[in-house]
């Protein structure tokens, strides 16, 4: 293997996996899988997971974990749904989801840095429960449906470009793309972004080299919360409802997507592109199994296996890259 090819694999191997999966599914059921409608479905169905995964990625880069994202998403959804039904002006309603995410994320960051809880797993496990409980409390457990059309826009709208509905470019994809580019720029081209990677690589070294680790960590959890709140806005828009059971267990999907996408669980390594590829791998796999009418039980087994295989392939890939 030439060094150039090894480096290409190192950076874009995960994207190749996505392409191979698409080719396989296209070969099995070309008339369905490659239809504009189905491709649109894959993008729409995974937009809110993509946002959660982007936020989770920033946390995992610092060798942390944020278990609260599913609950933040649900709390944002129901709160904005209640506000929308109460007739609050829609521009304000749009801000509620991200605002709630920022608040819970800030609480996570404070718990980690001020209370000095030993690992983010513990603080975010706490807020996972608190936010979910609040979600049930404010809704009394019942879904709140019927949102203002402007509030639904990001989650529901799509630009058909002459394709037959419901095919087209989803507005949610544009939001995900904007968030991904923004996050990439932040991580790669700002001091704080660099610091985040440094903290993940070696927190002690980061501290001695003058990085304000605590402040940076608080920002990291705020970012994760912000994305979770934004994903709540998308899912509420898509389903026209804030339902309190939304996103139970979805934090694990977000973690899986980040890990499949090549980020290291021990921090300091990973790319935004890889995370998006990780989300697509899970999304395409589910879609492929659905359109082939594979039972939900098998789907769960296969997704578990893919997590293991994807990370193992990543390990092999890295070993090969080191040897050349």
């Amino acid at each position: 293997m030439t060094p150039g090819f090894a480096r290409f694999l190192e950076h874009y191997g995960i994207v190749l996996v996505v392409i191979v999966m698409m080719l396989v599914l296209a070969a099995i059921r070309p008339e369905v899988f490659l239809s504009a409608q189905n491709l649109t479905n894959i993008l729409k169905q995974n937009a809110s997971l993509a946002l959660l995964a982007l936020g989770m990625f920033v946390v995992i880069v610092t060798a942390g974990i944020d278990l609260s994202v599913g609950s933040i998403m649900a709390l944002s959804m129901v709160t904005l749904a209640i506000a929308s039904k109460a007739g609050l002006p829609w521009p304000l309603v749009l801000l509620i989801g991200p605002a709630i995410g920022i608040i819970v994320g800030w609480v996570n960051g404070i718990g980690l840095t001020v209370l000095r809880l030993p690992h983010s797993f513990i603080m975010t496990l706490g807020t996972l429960n608190v936010a979910r409980g609040l979600t049930f409390l404010v809704t009394n457990g019942a879904p709140v449906s019927g949102l203002q059309p402007e509030v639904r826009y990001l989650g529901q709208a799509y630009y058909s470009f002459g394709l037959a509905p419901p095919a087209g470019l989803p507005a949610s994809l544009l939001l995900v793309a904007a968030c991904a580019v923004g996050l990439w720029f932040f991580l790669e081209h700002t001091d704080m972004g660099r610091h985040i990677f440094a903290i993940g690589g070696n927190p002690q070294a980061a501290r001695v080299s003058g990085i304000n680790v605590d402040r940076t960590l608080v920002v990291v959890y705020i970012i994760s919360g912000f994305f979770a709140g934004l994903s709540g806005l998308l899912l509420a828009g898509r389903t026209d409802s804030g339902f309190p059971n939304a996103g139970i267990g979805i934090e694990l999907d977000a973690i899986a997507a980040v890990i499949i996408g090549g980020a290291s669980f021990f921090g300091g390594r990973g790319t935004v592109l890889g995370v998006l590829a990780g989300v697509l791998i899970m999304g395409i796999l589910r879609n492929g199994l659905n359109i082939n009418n594979v039972s939900a039980f098998w789907q769960q087994i296969l997704i578990g296996l893919v997590i293991i295989v994807a990370v193992y392939v990543d390990v092999l890939r890295r070993q090969a890259a080191v040897r050349t």
């Binding site: 059921r29 369905v32 239809s35 409608q37 189905n38 479905n41 729409k44 169905q45 979910r132 409980g133 049930f136 009394n140 457990g141 019942a142 879904p143 449906s145 019927g146 529901q156 799509y158 509905p165 419901p166 899912l235 898509r238 389903t239 026209d240 409802s241 339902f243 309190p244 059971n245 939304a246 139970i248 879609n287 659905n290 359109i291 009418n293 939900a296």
Partner: protein, 302 residues
């Protein structure tokens, strides 16, 4: 000392929340306080009946729908406290069977509500889900041309309710000559109902009817059809007749739903426990009934 104080505070808070449940009829539901407007109605029916009969009714539920372990713990703790009767919707009939036996052994009258358990000799108070789904299938048969393509959104088919509704619908739809082209689970969830319907539409563009095993999934299907501009061509029938579904039926989006009588479940359950306590015997199955909800009668379910 500090720890002791904290424990004391926690216990006091707990006591304040439960109001102390010595000697009461317990309704142990499967999902949280509501989690679903359905459970809210069961709870209300039980409380109203309790007030009418002048007995105390305590309602408990696991924090998340179908959290088996939490429910077992709750029931065990309640039996330890001593209760007058237990009406339980088991999250998992097999897993809860030993606890139900323990309650019976402690002399506590027990009935099953909504979901049938496996314990012998315990009266079941609830809907015949298979018959309810057949009612929905029958409606679709009468309103769709023979041979039309239809799809079934299943609930969790590892649960008896999900299984019964899927079976009842499939049998009813197939028997009258409709063609079931897709059966997939959307796990009772609105977002999943939406996604699964999108996938079904991608593979089966000619679909004419969708049966959702609950309204949440049916409402998700409605959103998918709206986005595909196909709502006017596809009939969506749900199950539960929750307020959202009733509003959707009145707005001309969903076509019909099947109402259980959750209020009846709560009320009949408390009545049954009081009867058992008084030494009466009960039928093996007290049917709480189902009714088809369409534009004509949806108003009362809003």
């Amino acid at each position: 000392m500090k720890k002791l104080l904290m424990t004391g505070v926690a216990l006091a808070a707990l006591a304040a929340m439960t109001g102390g449940a010595d000697a009461a009829y317990v309704l142990a539901m499967k999902g949280p306080g509501a989690g679903n407007p359905f459970w809210a109605a069961v709870e209300q029916g039980a409380k109203d009946k309790g007030a009418e009969l002048g007995v105390e009714v305590v309602v408990v539920a696991p924090p998340a729908e179908s959290d088996v372990q939490a429910q077992i713990t709750q029931i065990e703790d309640l039996i330890a406290q001593g209760i007058d009767g237990l009406a339980i919707a088991p999250t998992d009939p097999n897993a809860l069977a030993p606890v139900v036996d323990a309650a019976k052994a402690a002399g506590v009258p027990v009935v099953f509500v909504d979901t049938r358990g496996i314990n012998e000799g315990v009266t079941f108070i609830g809907t015949n889900n298979e018959a309810g789904a057949a009612l929905a299938a029958d409606f679709m048969c009468k309103n769709l041309p023979s041979g039309a393509e239809v799809a079934i959104l299943q609930g969790l088919i590892s649960q008896s309710t999900g299984q019964a509704r899927a079976d009842g619908a499939k049998k009813g739809l197939t028997d009258c000559g409709l063609k079931v082209v897709a059966e997939q689970t959307a796990e009772w969830d609105r977002a999943k109902g939406l996604a699964v319907t999108e996938n079904i539409l991608a593979g089966n563009p000619n679909i004419k009817g969708i049966f959702g095993s609950n309204d949440n999934m049916a409402l998700g299907a409605v959103e998918a059809l709206k986005a595909a501009s196909k709502l006017q061509d596809v009939m969506v029938v749900g199950f539960d007749a929750n307020p959202d579904a009733a509003a959707s039926i009145l707005a001309g989006e969903m076509t019909a739903s099947v109402a259980q009588a959750p209020g009846n479940m709560g009320a009949y359950a408390i009545q049954a426990l009081v009867d058992l306590k008084a030494g009466k015997t009960l039928e093996a199955w007290i049917d709480t009934g189902t009714v088809l909800v369409t534009k004509e009668n949806a108003e009362q379910y809003k």
